[in-house]
C-alpha cells in the first residue's frame, strides 16, 4: 500500500535532513500512529506520501504507483485516492458544511446528482446529519473536525492521512474523533495519523512508528506512545526497519495475515 525505500528528504537551505534513510511498509487496512517530537519528520513523511514534496533520494510507492514516475499532470488524479485531515481543519469559512464537503467533489468534476447522493451519506458517517446548512464558525472544534473528516472520506479514499487531527481538541472530543477514525479504518481505509497525544496512542494499541531526527527508531505493533518493554532499535540503513521485540510480529514478515497482539486478524 505504502512503501518507502531508503527515503531521504533534505529541504533546501537546511543541512540536516528532515527524513534520513527511511524504509518502511504500511499494508492495506492498517491503522498507524506516527509519533515523535515536533520537527522529527512526521509531517514530511505525510507530505511525501501526498507527493507534495519529492524525496531527495530513495523511492516511494503508494497504491502500487511509483511516486517518482507520476507526471505532475497526473498528481491530482493520484491524490483523489487520498483523504487528508489537519489539525487546523482547513474549512472554507464562507461555505456551509454541505458545500464544504461538496466542494471536494465539485472540483474533481462529479455530477450534481452524485454530490447530492454522497455528501449526506458522508455527513451521516461523521455524525453531522442535521447540521448540513450550518457555517463552520457556528460549529464546535470537534464538529469542524468532523466536517473535515467527512470531506476527506466523501470520495471513498483508500488511504487517509491525518496530521494531528486531535491537536486542537479537548480529550473527550478527541475520543469521539478517534472512534470515528477507527470506524473509517474498520471499513477498510488505511489510516496514518501523526500525533502527540500519548493517551490516544496508548489506549488504541495500534502500530506505532516513532521518528526521531528523521530516522525511524521504533516500529511496533500494538505499541504505546512511549517506548515500554521494547528497546529502541536503530534502523538499519537501507533495509526495512525490523522490530526487535521478541515474539512481536514484524511488518516485514511475509505479507498475508499479521496477527496483532489483540488477536484481531488484519490484511
Amino acid at each position: 500500500m505504502i512503501r518507502f525505500d531508503d527515503v531521504t528528504k533534505v529541504y533546501r537551505g537546511n543541512a540536516r535532513p528532515a527524513l534520513n534513510g527511511v524504509s518502511l511498509e504500511i499494508l492495506s487496512g492498517e491503522f498507524v500512529f506516527l509519533v515523535g517530537a515536533s520537527g522529527s519528520g512526521k509531517s514530511t513523511f505525510l507530505r511525501l506520501v501526498l507527493k507534495e514534496e519529492r524525496p531527495s533520494s530513495g523511492q516511494i510507492h503508494v497504491l502500487g504507483q511509483d511516486l517518482g514516475r507520476i507526471s505532475s499532470r497526473k498528481v491530482p488524479y493520484f491524490r483523489r485516492n487520498l483523504g487528508v485531515v489537519f489539525q487546523d481543519f482547513r474549512l472554507l469559512p464562507n461555505k456551509t458544511v454541505f458545500d464544504n464537503v461538496a466542494f471536494t467533489l465539485q472540483v474533481i468534476g462529479k455530477s450534481k446528482g452524485f454530490i447530492h447522493e454522497t455528501v449526506p451519506d458522508a455527513l451521516q458517517t461523521v455524525g453531522l446529519d442535521g447540521k448540513a446548512q450550518r457555517f463552520p464558525h457556528e460549529l464546535s472544534g470537534g464538529e469542524q473536525q468532523r466536517v473535515a473528516i467527512a470531506r476527506a472520506v466523501v470520495n471513498k479514499p483508500a488511504i487517509m492521512l491525518a496530521d494531528e487531527p486531535t491537536g486542537n481538541l479537548d480529550p473527550s472530543t478527541s475520543a469521539g474523533i478517534m472512534s470515528l477514525l477507527e470506524r473509517i479504518n474498520a471499513n477498510g481505509t488505511t489510516v496514518i495519523m501523526a500525533t502527540h497525544d500519548a493517551g490516544i496512542v496508548d489506549r488504541l494499541q495500534r502500530r506505532v512508528i516513532e521518528v526521531v531526527g528523521g530516522r525511524i527508531v521504533r516500529d511496533e505493533r500494538g505499541g504505546g506512545y512511549q517506548t515500554q518493554a521494547t528497546p529502541v532499535v536503530q534502523q538499519g540503513f537501507g533495509r526495512p526497519a525490523t522490530v526487535a521485540a521478541p515474539g512481536m510480529p514484524t511488518h516485514s514478515a511475509p505479507s498475508g495475515t499479521v496477527s496483532a497482539p489483540n488477536g484481531e486478524a488484519r490484511r
Binding site: 501526498l50 505532475s72 499532470r73 491530482p76 488524479y77 493520484f78 491524490r79 483523489r80 487520498l82 487528508v84 482547513r90 472554507l92 466542494f103 471536494t104 465539485q106 472540483v107 474533481i108 468534476g109 455530477s111 450534481k112 470531506r151 470520495n155
Partner: protein, 304 residues
C-alpha cells in the same frame, strides 16, 4: 456543472479584486490605444506613399547658360542635344518603362514657378534664364527611376536627372518616426500591462489560497484550478481592449475624418473601414496578452 462553477469563481475573483481589475482595464486600454494608433499611422503612411509615389515624376533637366553643374559649362543645351535625349527616351529599350513624357521649356517652367511660389520673394527673383528646360517623365513603375538616370544621365547637355520621390522621403521619414514612437510607447505600456495582469492574478490567487490549497489536496486538476484565473485576466484585458477599439474608431471618426480631412481636403486619410480592421487586432492582442501573462503567473504561483 463545471462550466458554471468556473464562471462563478471568475465572477467572484473579479468582484473581490475590483481595484486591481480596474487598473488592468485602464492600462490595457491605454496601451492598446497606442498600438491601434501605431497601426493606423502605418496604414496612413502606406496609403500616402501609394498616392504620392504614383504621381511622382522623373525630371531630366538640361543645361542653361548659367549652370555649371554636371556636364554643363555655362552652355545652354542645344536643340540637337534635346532631340537626342528625346530619341533615346522614345527608343525601344526605354519606352516600356515610360508612361508619358512632356517637355517643359524655360518659359513654361517660369510660368509654373511663378504659380507655385506666387507672392514669395523667390518669385520676384526668378527669371526664365535660371530655370532649365526639362523632360517630365511619368514611369510605369515609379520606383524604376534608375533606368532613366542610367540611360540619359550621361548625355551631353543634360544637367541632372531627378526623381521627385526623393523630395517625399523626408515627409515619410517623419511619419515613420512618429509611428515608431507610438510603437515604442505601446511596447512599454504592454510590458506594464502584462506585469500588472500577472500581479493581479497572483493577488487574486493569494486571496483564494484556502480554496486553492483544498483543491490541490483533494485532487482538482491543474487546469481546473488555473482556468478561472486565466479567464479573470482575459475578461479584464478584453474590457480594456474594447475600450481601446472604441477609442481608435472615435479617433478616426472625429479627428481624422471629421477634422483632418476637412482641413486638408486634397490628402486621402485612413477611414472607418481601416479602423474596423484594427479593432479585432486589438481585441486579439489584449486577450492573448492577458491569457499568456495570467497563465505564467498562476502556473508559477501553483508550482511551489
Amino acid at each position: 456543472m463545471r462550466v458554471g462553477l468556473v464562471l462563478g469563481e471568475v465572477a467572484q475573483g473579479l468582484r473581490r479584486n475590483l481595484s486591481m481589475v480596474v487598473s488592468v482595464v485602464l492600462v490595457t486600454f491605454i496601451s492598446l490605444t497606442f498600438v491601434g494608433a501605431a497601426i493606423l499611422l502605418q496604414m496612413q503612411i502606406t496609403q500616402m506613399k501609394s498616392y504620392w509615389f504614383d504621381r511622382a515624376q522623373v525630371a531630366v533637366y538640361f543645361c542653361t547658360e548659367l549652370s555649371t553643374v554636371g556636364a554643363c559649362s555655362q552652355q545652354a543645351a542645344t536643340d540637337e542635344q534635346i532631340a537626342q535625349v528625346e530619341a533615346q527616351l522614345e527608343s525601344s529599350t526605354l519606352a516600356p518603362f515610360i508612361q508619358e513624357v512632356t517637355f517643359e521649356t524655360q518659359e513654361e517652367a517660369y510660368a509654373n514657378f511663378q504659380e507655385q511660389f506666387a507672392g514669395t520673394a523667390a518669385a520676384d527673383l526668378a527669371s526664365p534664364e535660371f530655370l532649365p528646360p526639362a523632360f517630365w517623365i511619368s514611369l510605369v513603375d515609379p520606383s524604376q527611376s534608375d533606368v532613366i538616370q542610367d540611360a540619359v544621365g550621361g548625355f551631353a547637355g543634360v544637367e541632372s536627372v531627378q526623381d521627385q520621390r526623393a523630395y517625399l522621403d523626408p515627409i515619410f521619414d517623419i511619419l515613420n518616426a512618429s509611428s515608431l514612437t507610438a510603437i515604442g510607447i505601446a511596447a512599454l505600456m504592454l510590458v506594464a500591462a502584462a506585469l500588472l495582469i500577472a500581479t493581479t492574478i497572483r493577488l487574486s490567487a493569494f486571496s483564494r489560497r484556502r480554496e486553492i490549497g483544498i483543491m490541490r489536496l483533494v485532487g482538482a486538476s491543474n487546469r481546473f484550478i488555473q482556468t478561472p484565473f486565466i479567464i479573470e485576466g482575459v475578461v479584464a484585458a478584453l474590457i480594456g481592449s474594447v475600450l481601446a477599439g472604441a477609442a481608435v474608431v472615435a479617433l478616426v471618426q472625429f479627428f481624422v475624418q471629421g477634422y483632418l480631412s476637412t482641413t486638408l481636403p486634397l490628402t486621402s486619410f485612413v477611414g472607418l473601414s481601416d479602423a474596423l480592421i484594427v479593432v479585432p487586432i486589438l481585441l486579439l492582442a489584449g486577450a492573448v496578452l492577458a491569457a499568456v501573462s495570467a497563465n505564467v503567473a498562476i502556473t508559477r504561483y501553483l508550482r511551489v
